[in-house]
Symmetry: C2
């Protein structure tokens, strides 16, 4: 039991260390030796949990996906109006402090651009995450229109594309321009589109 | 004279080779040796033009910036309505074939996420490009409102943020999802926002 706990904790430390390095320094620029040095977990122990840097990458993506999906699922289950749910979704996607230090503003974008050539599996996982995000937004828009909480002539697919692409672009461009007003301006603009 | 021409042409070949490698394989993953091998220009000749990989990167960014800025400037100078100019701008930014093969869907996004830690100058150039893009869109919106070609109660900053972030996000997400409908859906959505 004690060993199990210890090993779980080491596994978590390795994952956190690797995630921090991949997101701020870059996947390609990070070596397993660096993860060993920074996590203070032995190489043998790390390789016991993760056979390669790619396995670590995939575990990090899984963790990020579940982090966001859990938060999104909670919002969907709440007893709120559709505009309120869309606002919460916007906040979840734009106000996560995990994004602050990450090279491309969005952890998925950062990992995708650095690894899409080296890991088809990473690419597929990130694609699934965004495809689902688009579906969630489409479903919320359909519900909101049916409940008359959103403008009746809102085209669903088009508006979902607008919401998902603009949020993703805003994460990247806020990082590039160091301008937090971009997200606020975008939020106001999206709010008026939905009315 | 002959030597001058030859050297100019070599310089261009190096730049094109390096750009293709940086955008499809990645800046960090590309070595100067690879650029030598693929361009068939001698190392001495390459280093005569570009002292380092970073110098090549900065020249590539400058070339990309001027490629887009020239096209944007031409559109701005044309005798068209503001909605028509905005449509052309959208096309310029989304339909460029240079983007097709590039890892992150947008060349600037691809280069930024791979180099922002290693080149402050690259970062500053990319920031300037997007800051200007936002200003161009704001100016077009102001003109369109003044000329009564766009909705009179369009908030300028907010709508410009929506346009610029959604186009950038669409470039990345089209690459991720391999779904060309995203750009079409976005275009329809933006068009109805402006009316």
């Amino acid at each position: 039991m004690k060993n199990d706990k210890l090993s779980l904790s080491n596994k978590d430390i390795v994952l956190q260390t690797a995630a921090a390095l991949f997101l701020t320094k870059g996947y390609l620029m990070t070596s397993m030796d660096e993860i060993v040095a920074l996590s203070k977990v032995s190489k043998t122990n790390i390789y016991y949990h993760y056979k390669s840097k790619e396995e670590l990458l995939l575990a990090i993506i899984d963790q990020l996906v579940s982090h966001y999906e859990q938060r999104i699922t909670r919002v969907l289950a709440q007893d709120m109006s559709i505009p309120a749910k869309l606002e919460r979704l916007f906040q979840i996607l734009t106000e996560d402090h995990e994004q602050d230090d990450c090279v491309g503003g969005c952890p998925f974008l950062t990992l995708y651009t650095q690894t899409s050539n080296s890991s088809l599996e990473a690419r597929a996982k990130i694609r699934t995450f965004f495809d689902k995000q688009l579906q969630v937004v489409e479903k919320l828009l359909e519900e909101g229109i049916a409940k008359k909480e959103l403008s009746q002539d809102l085209p669903v697919r088009q508006t979902a594309a607008l919401i998902v692409t603009s949020i993703e672009g805003a994460l990247f461009l806020t990082k590039v321009s160091d301008n937090p007003m971009l997200v606020q301006n975008l939020f106001q603009s999206l709010t008026s589109v939905l009315k």
